[in-house]
Symmetry: C2
Subunit: 452 residues, 2 copies
Amino acid sequence: MSEILSREYLLLVQEAFEHSNTAIIQEQVQELHYADIAALVYELEDEQADFLLRSLDTEIASEVISELEEEVRKHFLKNLPYEKLAEYIDLMDSDDAVDILKEQPIQIREQVIATLKDRDKAKDIIYLLPYDEDTAGGLMAKELIKANINWTVKQCIEEIRRQAEKVEKIYSIYVVDNNGILKGRVSLKKIILSADDTLIADIYEDEELIFVETYKEQEEVVTLMRKYDLESIPVVNVQGKLLGRITIDDVVDVMQEHAEAERQAMSGLSSNVEEDDTIWTSVKARLPWLVVGMVGGMLAASVTNMLGQPVILLVSVLANFTTLIAGTGGNVGVQSSSIILQSLANKSVFELGTLERLFKVLIIAVLNGLILSAFVLGVCLLFGYDAKVAFVVAIALFSVILLASLMGTITPLVLDRFGINPALAAGPFITTANDLIGLTVYFLIARLIYQI
Amino acid sequence: MSEILSREYLLLVQEAFEHSNTAIIQEQVQELHYADIAALVYELEDEQADFLLRSLDTEIASEVISELEEEVRKHFLKNLPYEKLAEYIDLMDSDDAVDILKEQPIQIREQVIATLKDRDKAKDIIYLLPYDEDTAGGLMAKELIKANINWTVKQCIEEIRRQAEKVEKIYSIYVVDNNGILKGRVSLKKIILSADDTLIADIYEDEELIFVETYKEQEEVVTLMRKYDLESIPVVNVQGKLLGRITIDDVVDVMQEHAEAERQAMSGLSSNVEEDDTIWTSVKARLPWLVVGMVGGMLAASVTNMLGQPVILLVSVLANFTTLIAGTGGNVGVQSSSIILQSLANKSVFELGTLERLFKVLIIAVLNGLILSAFVLGVCLLFGYDAKVAFVVAIALFSVILLASLMGTITPLVLDRFGINPALAAGPFITTANDLIGLTVYFLIARLIYQI
């Protein structure tokens, strides 16, 4: 496999560029898998990448372009005449074509569509363009094999032959009635093993047919395909008419993007930064949330100054426990958020209602709070702290665990409701907020008990 | 689709159990997709689930059992005679069979294998058992369609017919030579569209053949299948002999498990707890890391007590900034860890060396540190803090950002090297450690500047 793609290979190609040795580029690189060529493009300088892509066969180039990350692709396509882009688009599946055209200015988009040689593809693209990219409609391709329920196996094979060029991978053949309504599916295996004059109606499966409507969210498509172990899923409109199909490779990409977006949100990075990005990109991705944390820290300093200083001046050891209180609030909040994330990712059909949820969270928080407060109370007394100090810390800890649990539960649900990535609630946002809440509660309880 | 699986349906089934109405259970539930029956099992009481599984047809039950989560399955199988388990195993794919047998005590495992009616399956299972479940060998199934390179299309179709029962889903037919060495693949589409007397040798593809060796890690299988958009990948031994195949549904499951394990590790949960688990399970999953955080917090209290109290007694406003310092350390550490996680998840062939990595991390940390320290210095002076206090805070902040960046980078790499989930480094572990380091640095700098 891709073991040829070593750092040595990269150096070889880069050297070939420096000596304008186009033979290596055209002959050697062209032999690679398109995914490997894309990986190579990421490592090259902009002009080198442009040169490489332009010198590839149109067919290979169109596959590489489909594969590229949006940013890199946009950069390459910016300086390309629209006629050339149309040549690439002519060779792509409709779903990839639409994704790429959506990245272009409307004028270019329309020029390309008008220039396409494959007028059926143009029609498919125009059909697919309006769908929101976060829905099943936005994921589907129009390329699929459709068989009429009244056909014979022979007619079906003829259809496969007709579409063979267009539909690269066939998993199932979808069976429709005269009105185009999806009735079932038949596997290629069954087609191979059936006699030519067998009726599709006699061999297709209609039980356990899993499909998805165009308006359903991406997440639902992922859940369905994962749950039912599907490699492709048919997409229908509300009337049940077959419109397209979504293949597992697109769903795998969606899963990957989700995992990355969640990691990024949970750790307070403002964009999907990778290790090999430039230093400036890395700094920019990290700074925004660090500044938020900094502002939070300064607010914490103000809270301590205003609420805390009067008691700290009197009982200075109270300052020892600010990190414990703030840290526990953060940890509890992140745990609670993450359990909600988990349940949002695996939407169960037997879901708890919001009130049931909060009630359960509260009970768990009370139990954890009691155990941890008792533990800390014991340790404090053991370490020779004043009993009053120990009680302040224990009571504050208990309250903070309760508050952080509720906040950690509610925040991701609210974010999700408003279409914001709920994983943000498991990141620095909630940690910072819990720091502030924790300190406020701590010093208020301290002042109450010390009556200052 | 699975919209029948509502809470009402669950109530209906539970009521049927209470009235011992086996008709509903056997007739209605049996019609569901096995993945839906599994979802139902999770919602039932233990005895109800046992009863349901035992009353299903053996074939359906065996699919449901393959689908169940390990814990639930183990519970059900514990009280099952081994002869019955053998009946289920007889109907499973070899990869699922091996996963389930590995969960059983060795004695049961051997009794089951000895009892299997399908002796070929028994051989396959014995062959697969030794592979580590985290490797390609541990993921592969022996069921596949293999065609000799010298066959005709007709012979190949006969082979498909022979294996039709065993190999449920056929994606590609793998082409081998007389020694069983993998030479290439041919798609079902091509088989359908070729004349019966065509030689496999004339139509198979040998370019861009992606395969994986048995000893390769799970992660590599995921990366390959995702990168090359594969729905199945052949597994070979070091000599290149075809041994089995891995299908995309198993890889999707691996991706899902990884995402869950990472979420869990980053948020300090000790097991994959879900919202609908029992209260006690939830408490148990949360407590361990909270206790670790608690111990960390008590250590932080000790650090503040020993190192901090002397300066706090003198300059009590220094207590205001402990949360800022500790919090920033945590945030920076988590960001750094998460960038390493990202690069571990997308292993690039053009990887940076460890020294290059650390050097880059250091530069980014210095830049972030300078910007944030300057910001905080300005705000402190603006808020009327003493210049000495402001400088202590700014210098401590800079040092903490540097240290936390390095720790956040090194920890996941070290954990990964030792085969421990590196995502642990982005969780409460590093936050707690950074709290301690941050406070120590802060108070040491304060005492240095105030010369106490």
